[in-house]
Amino acid sequence: MQIQVKCSCGEEKCPEWAILELQGVVEAQPSFKDRLQNLRIGTLCRPTSQENYTFTVGYHELTGTKVPLKKPMLVLKKIKLSTEEEKGDINSTKVELDVIGVIRQRILFKTRPKALISSADLSSYYEEHNGDLKIDGKPFSSPKVQRKSLSLVNADLSYDDGCNLSYDDLITCHSHL
């Protein structure tokens, strides 16, 4: 079986995608868990002319930098081509991978989140967020950042810890989490 890797955008014009990476997990309030679409996460700010950034999520602030990736990453989209004969047979489903974007840098936040506790910070936070989105009449609640115990070294796994990807994984839609 073969999976063709296509590139519909062409070599010159492969659009660049962006990545924000932070330690831990951003969690929404339980009432928003199932409908995150369009929910605001936070504010990305570049305070100076350097490639330093802050990312404010709820009352937490992260500091990070924009770093070029050592190797580029491609964004692939799996496209199922249904074969006309044998439609019922899963094995006959042809799949193509389409390159729809390239990623060359990421903004990486590797610090512990800092709580914006000073009243000045908080008031500016509320100034910015009050009168905010209201969904179904409930006040908007920002997601919170939850640190996981894994360090960045562990997060930047080398391939020794990577698992082999079976062909099946590429054809069916497994999530690897």
């Binding site: 929910l39 990453m73 989209k77």
Partner: protein, 398 residues
């Protein structure tokens, strides 16, 4: 959608993130299409592979139960999934709708002049590529299913009931074998395979033996020089004996090499000593162990005149063992061994627990693992011992 209407931000996408001006900020939100999007995957790769990918010269190959590999024109890469515990927010460009086939993004409106970049997915990790040796053992296996034999030739086209059984065209092989096009070509050459009626076949050993014997026989009869066999003379003679021209020409290529000879017309071939001598040794040793002297005697009789079968050409084809005062020889060909290093060494030590370097070398020198030297291979898979400083080192299983 209510939510969408109430979103008071303009749309900036990845461009906005990549070009944040100093002293400004942008909002980050979940995309209106935010979801698991299992069909979106990230692939990390070397800059030098980008042109191959973007020019669509790359495929993934394998069967559903195999680990996937990615093949360029010339190389094979294993694909590994690298998970991360970090939250990786993937942000597409603002015109993502085209790529995802969704309806156009209606949130372009710009109520507040605030720019928003939207996260389409939290990525659990990415795939990366590790160069590997092509997996050609399967090619060997596939071609051994139905070798081309004299029976099939003499049967002509009468009843080819087995027509499609164990027969593989190029496109079948590409679907089944995990190797790049170039590596597959090299593999087919190494197996002396030939394309017959659109299918890649290996030749039955008996059939090859008949062809070689017939060729040598006719060379004597017709005073042909083994170092200058003229195709225009050789092919018609062998064809008259029932051997198809294409197959004979293929054998000339396997057991000889083309000679540039402008004094004689047509295509001229020189029969090469090594493959011819190895062939006859194999035929003699088929299925049995022999006393070394007796073998040498028989072998020299078989080898055509002008070629002096020296024992060296059998490197990597035979093994010897001492039983009492007798030395016995038997066929043990490197080409019959697996090409995966761990399996190769396991077979070798199963055959013989201890090897001297001189013996071992012909059976491991073809092993190539990207990123590992041959010393590295030995360190990884063997134990080296040296009884005294000036003694030959001995290799055994780890």
């Amino acid at each position: 959608m209510e939510i969408e209407k109430s979103l008071p931000y303009g749309e900036g996408g990845a461009e906005a993130i990549l070009n944040v001006q100093s002293n400004t900020s942008i909002s980050i939100a979940y995309h209106q299409l935010f979801g698991p999007h299992d069909d979106l995957m990230l692939l990390e790769l070397d800059e030098k592979l980008l042109p191959d990918i973007l020019n669509q010269r790359v495929t993934l190959r394998g069967q559903p139960d195999e680990d996937a590999v990615l093949c360029t024109q010339s190389k094979t890469y294993a694909i590994k999934f690298v998970g991360t515990s970090n939250s990786v927010f993937l942000i597409p460009p603002s015109n993502l709708s085209i790529a995802l086939g969704a309806s156009s993004n209606s949130s372009e409106k710009d109520h507040d002049n605030a720019v928003v970049a939207s996260v389409i997915k939290v990525v659990p990790g990415s795939m990366e590529l590790v160069e590997v040796a092509p997996r050609l053992d399967k090619l060997k296996l596939l071609l051994s299913e139905n070798p081309y034999s004299f029976d099939e030739v003499s049967q002509m086209n009468t009843e080819l009931t087995h027509k499609n059984k164990g027969l593989y065209s190029w496109s079948d092989l590409v679907e089944k074998v995990q190797a790049s096009d170039e590596e597959l070509c090299t593999g087919l050459r190494a197996l002396a395979a030939v394309e017959i009626d659109g299918y890649w076949r290996s030749l039955d050993e008996n059939f090859v033996d008949e062809i070689l014997n017939m060729l040598l026989h006719n060379a004597v009869l017709n005073d042909w020089l083994l170092s200058a066999l003229n195709e225009d003379e050789v092919l018609p003679v062998l064809e008259a004996d029932g051997f198809p021209r294409e197959i004979v020409r293929h054998c000339l290529g396997v057991y000889g090499s083309k000679v540039v000879d402008e004094t004689r017309g047509g295509c001229t071939w020189r029969l090469e000593e090594r493959p011819v001598c190895v062939h006859f040794a194999r035929v003699i040793l088929r299925g049995k162990k022999m006393n070394l002297e007796r073998f040498m005697e028989e072998w020299r009789k078989k080898v055509p005149e002008g070629m002096n079968g020296s024992f060296d050409v059998l490197e990597g084809e035979v093994l010897t063992e001492k039983i009492g005062i007798e030395t016995r020889i038997y066929a043990f060909s490197v080409s019959s061994l697996p090409s995966v290093p761990a399996e190769r060494f396991s077979k070798l030590f199963q055959e013989k627990p201890k090897w001297e370097w001189k013996e071992l070398q012909p059976f491991v020198r073809d092993l190539k693992v990207p990123g590992l030297s041959s010393e590295g291979l030995l360190l990884k898979y063997t134990r080296r011992s040296q009884p005294s400083a000036d003694a030959e080192p001995i290799f055994s299983a780890r």
